[in-house]
């Protein structure tokens, strides 16, 4: 598929924004300024950016504990996310949710939650709502390989298929469920196959290739909009950082058990570098264009961090403010 220059540059810019957001957090996490558990998205940017390029503000998305990328790619603002990660009143969830509960209903980011597999059925419900209303919206659930151990995903696949719901299941297979390598969790590394018994069309793509993700998602979303959903996309990817925090140094103990050679091999498949090379090679973007995108992202992140730092924390008197509506 031939993408326009504009589409490709938007895709690239989104990935860069996500990367800069994530990497800017390494310092504040290490100094203890940011305490909320941050599951950084570095390395997986092509998935959020590639899939959500096909979603409008009216479409619905649910994420996970690792959803900084989903939030930004769905249209949430850098200031909102940064202020939430700094747990400020100006954050997207007013400092009540932190890194794992990013929400921007105004652009269809309906929420994220760290109960593994827990939001898959919520996205199922958003698709059911679209089906009942007949409003052509599509919903997506993002989840990791670890979520395939949960029963709710199979229940959701079955029901989505039974009612032909407009839902895209997006599995970000990064080969590790926290500390557990995939082969210690399941006999087959081929996750897309789990959707096949439910008669669901599947894609299995290189999740570090933004163009491949973009192409698969284009077909999957079109299928859903045509009333022929659901769809299942498995993106093979890898997190460059720890499960939580920059390097899984939890209470002083380095817990990342991934082989160094494995990490090094994946670093060579950096999705941002790959798209950059592709665009430069085809003269779809100049080095100056790329530098400008990076500068803009850097400035946006710096502004957001400064905004977060000068924003107030929630007032103690407001502790019980949002228990009930």
């Amino acid at each position: 598929m031939n993408l326009t220059k504009k589409t490709m540059s938007d895709l690239y810019a989104m990935m860069v924004r996500i990367r800069y957001c994530e990497e800017s957090l390494v310092g504040p996490i290490n100094t203890g300024e940011v305490k909320t558990p941050c599951h950084l998205y570095t390395g997986q940017e092509a998935v959020a950016a590639g899939v959500l390029a096909h979603f409008t503000d009216k479409d619905h998305v649910f994420g996970t504990h690792r959803s900084h990328g989903h939030f930004l790619a769905k249209g949430g603002t850098m200031r909102q996310i940064m202020a939430e990660i700094f747990c400020r009143e100006t954050g997207c969830a007013r400092g009540r949710g932190g890194s794992m509960h990013l929400v921007a209903p105004e652009v269809g980011m309906l929420g994220a939650a760290p109960i593994v597999g827990g939001t898959i059925s919520l996205a199922l419900g958003a698709a059911l709502a679209a089906h009942i209303r007949g409003d052509k919206r599509v919903s997506a659930a993002f989840f990791g390989d670890g979520a395939t151990g949960e029963g709710a995903i199979y229940e959701s696949l079955n029901f989505a298929s039974l009612h032909k719901l407009p839902m895209v299941f997006v599995c970000e297979n990064n080969l590790y469920a926290t500390h557990m390598p995939i082969r210690a969790c399941r006999n087959s590394e081929h996750i897309a196959k789990i959707a096949e018994p439910f008669c669901i069309k599947t894609w299995r793509v290189d999740g570090n290739d933004a163009l491949k993700v973009h192409a698969a998602a284009s077909e999957a979303v079109a299928l859903c909009r045509a009333g022929k959903g659901p769809a299942f996309i498995e993106c093979l990817t890898y997190r460059f950082r720890g499960h939580v925090g920059p390097d899984d140094a939890i209470q002083g103990v380095h817990t990342d058990i991934r082989p160094k050679a494995e990490l090094a091999a994946w670093l060579k498949k950096d999705p941002i570098v790959r798209l950059e090379r592709y665009m430069l090679g085809r003269k779809m973007m100049s080095a100056a264009g790329i530098a400008a995108i990076k500068r803009k992202a850097e400035a946006e992140v710096a502004d957001a961090i400064s905004f977060a730092r000068r924003s107030p924390r929630p007032a103690p008197r407001d502790l019980e403010k949002y228990v009930c509506k």
Partner: protein
Amino acid sequence: MSANRRLSYSLAINEALHQCMAADRGVFLIGQGVNSPWYVGNTAQGLLERFGGKRVIDTPVSENAMTGAAVGAAIAGMRPVVEHPRVDFMLYAIDPIINEAANWHYMSGGRSACPVVIWGIINRGGEQAAQHSQALQAMFAHIPGLKVVMPATPYDAKGLMVAAIRDDNPVVFMDDRWLYRDEDIVPEKIYSVPIGKAAVRRKGDDITIVASSYLAREAVKAADILHHEGVSAEVIDLRTIKPLDTAAILRSIKKTGRLLVADGGWRSFGVASEICALAAESGIGLDRPPVRLTLPDCPAPASVSLEKVYYKHCEDIVLTAKKLCAR
């Protein structure tokens, strides 16, 4: 339109669903057996024919994802009612109910809401044993962000279902099959019973009996018997377990000085315990220590010989109240 139209408890729920679905296109019913009287009695009759299969969805046996789907649809702007033919089966859905629905408004800083009704039917007796009998209102009432209602009368069954559907928060609606055939006057128009307001069913001076659902009905019968035996009992039907109408309870015990709480759940850490704690913390000097009339801390048995001593009814309330009032 008759002002004195009588309707059964179960058909009052049915009417609430009909009227809410007609009034708001965002309301839909989803759950196991919604098209089967085997599961839901006549509470869902006529809905499928009137509103179609897109809004009346009988589901595979899939409590977790079906409840999650209702929660997700609510977050996406609908007003779903997700039905569980037994409270026991709802336990598969604890994650979407507690982790997601109950916390949703709070953890989004008020940016998002989850107006879902989680309808759990208490269905016990008949030698059904421990997994077809549980009444878990205390467990749900423990959770911040959840409201819990338990209607005792046909009027409240309709009005509380309407209120639950209209509420912007997740509401656990628990009804009781033992009440399904009770008949009373139920207005034909749509109306709601306010969530969080108890009702004084009998006025009295000697003892306050706090109860809900089936035991509220039994408490009213008990009060009438006690009246003939010279004991003036005030009956407070909670109607809503959470938020609890603390003012109604405290007002009454201040007057009577005696408190009997009857609850269809277990004794320890239950609704009755909460109300006794409320009384103790209020500093209102009771004439006698309060008494809890509940299930023993024991799973539901099968054999009818055991069921007879397990479940509490009118006569248990009468006996306990008389003991409490004896001088």
